[in-house]
């Protein structure tokens, strides 16, 4: 199925033509805007909403129900909500590109299909210590403690919102929610009725097509099913290679049932396949050589999730969720299959109006199998089952009525690598007066070891000294323990003026036992297998400690009803040291220099008459000295036109300020540069069959 779709989608010429058609169509329609009357009278004969009766208003079908970010305004967490509207108007077509919209998060595109994502520093290829979930299902991979981005997608139009939490969230979400948590929440099936078709094409996103159908009775039982496929081309390579083109296709469904008594049941699932082009180094022992091999990582996944939620009263209820997830990866240098079974229970109850108590328990079993495909990369043992058992309790206490709340709680978690881990938190929320919120928090979080740190066995060729090849062996460390972090945070949100909001947060994080390399044995000469060679053995150790500090400021201003400006400035600095025993002199520089210390983002959104939208975004990301990546400025722009309630057209451009720029390092080989790109999209919602 994938290949057929791939063939159907891949054609740059067709893509460009499609873009030209879309642009021509948009331009052709421009005079129509110019001649149009005032926006409020744009449909001849259609009454204004204010002329409708109450009954008529109650019968209008809402095209988009968007959970607004207002409700997070009063939380003691540094959280930013990216709404469906924000996503649509950014022109982003993948999950990591969507994350660029949030402050304090650094998204660097390594090549067409890989991203390094960090929150408050610590950006790396595996997006380590960042927990990402879709509808409560963890996407974190225990193979290398992070995210493999190209394997995860959703129908972008069905994403309700993306909550980006900066800072530790271990008390609620458990291990690995250290630097941040990303919650991708899709709309309930009741909110996605009818048919939706969208197609798009451009020079990097060569072709994308999606189809969704939602049905049901509009109240108690609803469902939807969707399918999508995307084909993306390579970015710019100074050496002319084109290894990073890729495609992926995904299909899924969601059913939501609810009754009048506050009970709801959700069943959802997805299947996906993809082939992600990449270049990897492969070392061979004899003859001693290290070659760069181009190939594809073929990924497939299937998942099924059920959630039962029951609210007995507004102040008492529970949620029971279970899911199954299977992923299978086959790359030029390794393969892995993994199954995850997860069950999670949360109960909440308000006691005596002063205490809001939440507690829960969960269990996860994750059997996996590593498939060795080359002699110089292996994991021991091949089969391993990750297991997590956890419980948590937290109480939000009203300290002073309408003014002060204190939340204390902890998670207690047992994992198969490091045993029991505690992740406590204390958070204070103060509302001095309407329009202002101040908060402070102390939280402890842990990142548990991943399979790579415990069980990797790899060999790479470094160089030859006096004709003797020198191999670097990296072997897992069975004693590698968890990375631990204590975060001290404070934040302030204020309505400076009725249309000007400001959100600021600062942090001081203390890190213990960050991973680095330790020397197991110096160069030793070995003659077997031939030829004679030297081996240096290194392993992972918890060799770096210290602190990181920073802050984020994000204003949101609407100077005119048709014009909105959003911005953010994020700063992070590090004060890390190598602990005695670690020989990895570069580790500190790597942590400090692989994340931008300064990031600036500015967005403008203009609504013109007749559903025309003009959006722009500018961003500055400072240099990554450890990766020899220069700082860069670039900009995105988008023109969207809501032709009618059923048709949207848009043309967006990304990275417009230069033909290409590097955002991260690529290994092996020179950095891949991210190209200027243009993308045109058409979304069509045929009339829904529902009355």
């Amino acid at each position: 199925m994938g290949t057929v779709l791939h063939a159907a989608l891949v054609d740059l010429t067709a893509a460009v033509r499609l873009a030209v058609i879309a642009v021509t169509f948009l331009l052709a329609m421009l005079p129509a805007f110019a001649l149009a009357g005032p926006p409020e009278n744009d449909q001849a004969g259609a009454p204004r909403l204010t002329e409708l009766s109450l009954e008529q208003l109650g019968d209008l079908e809402v095209t988009s129900v968007s959970k607004q970010p207002e409700e997070v305004w009063r939380t003691a967490v540094a959280v930013y909500v990216i709404t469906q509207d924000d996503i649509r108007r950014s022109g982003a077509t993948s999950i990591p590109e969507i994350l660029r919209l949030a402050p304090g998060i650094e998204v660097a595109r390594i090549d067409s299909d890989h991203w390094a994502v960090g929150v408050r520093g610590f950006g790396d290829q595996f997006s380590k210590s960042l927990l990402v979930m879709i509808d409560g299902r963890s996407l974190y991979t225990p193979l290398f403690a992070g995210m493999y981005w190209p394997a995860h997608d959703a129908l972008i139009e069905d994403i309700d919102r993306v909550e980006v939490i900066r800072g530790p969230g271990g008390t609620i979400w458990g291990a690995n929610a250290v630097n941040g948590v990303v919650n991708i929440i899709t709309r309930s099936a009741a909110e996605t009725p009818g048919m939706l078709m969208s197609i798009g094409s451009g020079n990097i996103d060569r072709g994308a097509a999606a189809l969704r159908y939602g049905g049901g009775n509009g109240s108690s039982l609803n469902y939807r099913a969707y399918g999508k496929g995307v084909s993306r081309g390579p970015q710019f390579h100074s050496d002319g290679s084109r290894f990073d083109d890729w495609w992926m296709s995904q299909a899924g469904f969601r059913t939501d049932w609810q009754d009048a008594a506050g009970q709801s049941l959700t069943l959802q699932g997805d299947v996906s396949r993809g082939s992600h082009g990449q270049r990897v180094s492969i070392t061979s022992h004899s003859p001693p050589a290290m070659i760069a091999a181009d190939g594809a990582l073929d990924a497939s996944g299937v998942n099924l999730l059920a959630r039962w939620q029951r609210d007995f009263t507004p102040t008492r209820g529970f949620r029971l969720q279970g899911y199954f997830d299977r992923t299978s990866w086959s790359a030029p240098n390794f393969g892995e299959t993994r199954e995850t079974f997860d069950i999670d229970f949360v109960h909440h109850q308000t006691l005596a109006r002063r205490h809001s108590l939440t507690w829960g328990a969960g269990a996860r079993q994750s059997p996996s199998r590593f498939i060795q495909t080359i002699p110089t990369l292996d994991f021991t043992p091949h089969r391993e089952t990750g297991s997590i058992y956890s419980g948590f309790a937290q109480d939000e206490m009203l300290v002073r009525r309408d003014r002060l709340w204190l939340t204390v709680g902890s998670k207690l978690e047992h994992n198969n690598y490091t045993g029991i881990e505690m992740e406590p938190t204390a958070r204070l929320l103060w509302i001095p007066r309407s329009g202002q919120t101040a908060w402070a928090a102390v939280t402890r979080a842990v990142r548990t070891p991943s399979r790579i740190e415990r069980g990797i066995v790899s060999r790479s060729l470094t160089r030859a000294v006096a004709a003797v090849p020198v191999f670097l062996d990296l072997v897992g460390n069975p004693d590698f323990s968890a990375e631990r972090m204590t975060g001290y945070e404070a934040g302030y949100r204020t309505l400076v003026a009725p249309q000007l909001y400001l959100d600021a947060a600062a942090f001081h994080n203390r890190h213990e036992g960050l991973s680095s390399f330790g020397l197991l044995s110096g160069a030793t000469l070995e003659s077997s297998p031939p030829p004679v060679h030297a081996v240096v053995r290194v392993s992972y150790v918890n060799g770096v400690s210290g602190s990181s500090d920073g802050f984020e400021i994000s204003p949101d201003w609407r100077p005119r009803q048709w014009w909105q400006l959003k911005g953010s400035y994020s700063y992070v600095r590090f004060d890390l040291v190598t602990t005695p025993g670690s020989i990895d002199v570069n580790a500190v520089a790597r942590y400090e220099g692989a994340s931008p210390h300064h990031q600036v983002r500015l967005q403008t959104r203009v609504d013109l008459p007749r559903g025309t939208e003009i959006d722009g975004a500018y961003r500055y990301v400072s240099a990554l000295p450890a990766l020899l990546v220069a700082g860069y400025h670039t900009a995105d722009a988008r023109i969207g036109w809501r032709v009618s309630s059923r048709v949207d057209l848009s043309v967006s451009g990304q990275n417009l300020l230069q033909p290409h720029h590097a955002e991260f390092a690529h290994s092996p080989g020179p950095a891949v540069e991210i190209s200027r790109s243009v993308y045109a999209a058409l979304t069509w919602r045929p009339a829904s069959g529902r009355p």
Binding site: D11, E70, R401, P498, Q561, Q564, G611, R642, R646, P686
Partner: protein
Amino acid sequence: MTRRARLSSIAATILVLLVDVGGLFAQGAPHTEYDIKAAYLYTFGRFVEWPPRGASRDAANFAICVLGVDPFGAALDATLAGATMRGKKVVGKRIVTPKDALDCHVLFISASEERQLDAIVRALDKTDILTVSDIPKFAERGGMIQFITAGQRVRFEINLAVAQDAGLSLSSDLLKVASAVRRDRRPAE
């Protein structure tokens, strides 16, 4: 891809555009949740009688206010542009504290104010301002009209006792359309 496949993909695109052209202008612009809520805020005014209050309220304007973080975006001003209510010009206002609400006829309380709701309800006690919100359990917690979004439609629930205590009289037509009418007083202090 062959030339034929390429042409057919272009043809398909054009077809999609053409097929829908008939429907392009037939239907009204789509309504977002907050377009509809903005229209409700205005329409409620036609079904509510405010007690005479002399000079303490702006005589020329009918003010619809939003307290807290504004979820309407451009929708409120676009909806109210040029609208009148009983000969008065309808204006949309954003306010930061309940103290600023005294000029308002209709007050929408944003979800950002959920934690402060009890204090806001107390601050507005004995004032003749029609309070509206989409905060869950708003009507139960001393608000007058609470929006309920069911499926794809926006409906509302009324707490009649609270409105009557404030001296407002709600028309029976309004009560008839409401999804539910409660008659409990504000929660005891």
